[in-house]
């Protein structure tokens, strides 16, 4: 699929929760996007060289929505959060492979800033859907929107909302099961889900994250360990940006 470097236009931006922003960008990238893919977003600050890879949360006909966390003062994401309607934003996409969306009963699991790609995925997924979200505390986001597509279960680390604990605690407490799991979130969460899916014989797809430079498969910064020799790299490494970010859990070592 052709990748496009585009000068997008900001349509709107809101803060959904503390440090969590939602931005709609008008761009031709929308026409070719699949759920679970990501875009590179470029800062205007020349001291910050590298694009920020951000997963696509939602797609409309000619625009995409990104939901992202501002990671600190003087960061690229802080700069993005100050963009206003009508501003330009340079984006490259669509990147990566995306989630499978054929009809199977599915548990969609999102942890923290791994939640956003689950919205478009839930929207496009055929079949029965259960959605499990993990948060640190009661500062939730996207949970209400996800309710339109399936029953939502919440876990929070401090127990202030939903099941106290992690997403697997919520799955066990509510005795949830399905033919397939799709998950995105921090690596320790994905590692636990991979083990859980394996033990319970559930097909499982994980969206991984790794530091990236180019986002298009050239720099080989964002590799993950694969269980077999990869057909492209000829070693037990896969590129998260190109062969991923979504992998069948059995293909990768976490």
């Amino acid at each position: 699929m052709t990748k496009i470097m585009d000068n997008g236009k900001v349509l709107s931006q809101d803060e959904l929760s503390k440090d969590i922003y939602s931005i709609w960008i008008k761009t031709d990238i929308a026409k070719t996007t699949k759920p679970g893919q990501f875009v590179n977003v470029y800062t205007k600050d020349p001291s910050k060289l590298l694009p920020r890879p951000i997963s696509i949360c939602e797609v409309d006909k000619d625009s995409i929505r990104l939901v992202y966390r501002v990671t600190g003062e003087n960061t690229g994401t802080k700069e993005f959060s100050n963009l206003k309607t009508g501003d330009d934003i340079k984006v490259l996409g669509s990147l990566g492979n995306g989630f499978p969306t054929d009809s199977k009963s599915t548990i969609l699991i999102g942890g923290g800033i791994g939640i956003p790609p689950m919205l478009e995925t839930a929207k496009q997924l055929d079949g029965e859907k259960i959605i499990v979200l993990g948060f640190r505390d009661s500062n939730t986001f996207l949970a209400n929107e996800l309710e339109s597509y399936g029953k939502v279960y919440i876990a929070s680390e401090d127990g202030s909302i939903g099941t106290k604990g992690n997403v697997l605690d919520a799955i066990r407490e509510n005795r949830l099961s399905a033919e397939r799991i799709l998950a995105c979130g921090p690596t320790p969460m994905l590692r636990a889900i991979k083990k859980y899916a394996d033990e319970n014989n559930i097909e499982c797809f994980l969206s991984l994250e790794e530091k990236m430079a180019c986002g298009i498969g050239a720099c080989l910064a964002c590799t993950c360990k694969s269980s077999e020799i990869d057909s492209h790299s000829k070693v037990k490494n896969k590129r998260v940006c190109t062969e991923g970010p979504v992998f069948n859990a059995s293909e990768v070592e976490l």
């Binding site: 590298l50 530091k211 498969g217 070693v235």
Partner: protein, 301 residues
């Protein structure tokens, strides 16, 4: 009509712009975004005799005005390179410079021999990667080993060779002279400068290898100084690189004595940077009354 052609060791390039090894994959990765036919040459990612796994992740970190990398020369090996990557590049109307890496002199020899009868134009010999424990920079930081590996490459290669020099040495002109004396056809410089970043929240190194090679606009003044020094120390042509992101940067390197320039890290934040640099150089020549790009090489003494 302005001449943008340059010649190195008998190889003619349509313009003086290539891409720095490791920042452009083998070319195909950028094919959607860059018209490869408009480049003077593609310089490939490092190729070894067998596939290399590279280093653990995280392999990169952003730093002010640049980045650190410790990829560790992951590559699919020379056989896959020939069957897949070279096949793609051969279809393009550009010259092909294959960057060669190895852990031992024998590794380098094997790769160069395997590629010598293929349709490649030059070899760039990587004796300056700071991120691998054997090979790479180990060959490039003392005069005797540079001299030895250069001689071996000349003896086994049917194509002209470019020795790629490390800035992580006390006196780069000494290394450059050794490579020239041993028969190198050209030199490329600089490779990355060893650096470090620490994550103060996790209290650990930002990249798994602890140190990484720094690249990007922040290193340009150092690279430019070294290109100038080497240009005044040797007679063989130089491919200048290190932080080049715009045509202005490239013109500086050529004025300092580089015959060609490589765009590296800039490819990550502007995939079309190399083409913009090539176009910009031509405009610069036109605007300043030059008829031939060769007129500006080493113009600033």
């Amino acid at each position: 009509m302005i001449n943008t052609k340059v010649k190195i060791a008998g190889v003619e390039f349509k313009n003086p712009v290539t891409v720095a090894s490791g920042t452009f994959g083998h070319g195909e990765e950028f094919a959607d975004l860059v018209d490869i036919n408009r480049l003077g040459a593609v310089t490939t990612k490092g190729v070894a005799n067998i596939p290399w796994e590279g280093n653990p992740t995280p392999r990169i970190a952003e730093v002010y005005g640049g980045m650190l990398n410790a990829i560790g020369l992951q590559n699919p090996g020379v056989d896959t390179f020939i069957e897949r990557d070279l096949k793609f590049l051969k279809e393009k109307d550009t010259k092909i410079i294959v960057n060669v890496c190895g852990r031992s002199v024998e590794d380098y020899i094997e790769t160069v021999e395997r590629l010598s009868d293929e349709d490649v134009d030059m070899f760039e010999i990587n004796i300056s990667c700071p991120n691998v424990s054997h090979g790479g920079i180990a060959f490039g930081t003392n005069v005797e080993s540079v001299s030895e590996i250069t001689k071996q490459m000349k003896a086994h290669s049917k194509k002209p060779i470019i020795m790629k020099l490390s800035p992580n040495v006390t006196d780069i002109t000494e290394i450059a002279r050794a490579a020239e004396a041993a028969g190198s056809d050209a030199l490329s410089l600089i490779n990355t400068i060893t650096g470090m970043k620490i994550d103060i929240n996790k209290r650990c190194f930002a990249i798994a290898n602890r140190t990484g090679g720094m690249s990007g606009p922040a290193i340009k003044p150092i690279a430019l100084r070294m290109v100038y020094q080497v240009a005044n120390a040797v007679k063989i042509p130089i491919i200048g690189m290190g932080g080049i992101a715009t045509f202005e940067d490239a013109v500086e390197f050529m004025l300092a004595g580089a015959t060609m320039v490589s765009v590296g890290t800039a490819n990550f934040f502007n995939p079309n940077a190399s083409i913009e640099v090539a176009e910009g150089i031509e405009k610069y020549l036109e605007n300043n009354g030059f008829k031939d790009v060769n007129e500006i090489i080493g113009l600033v003494k």
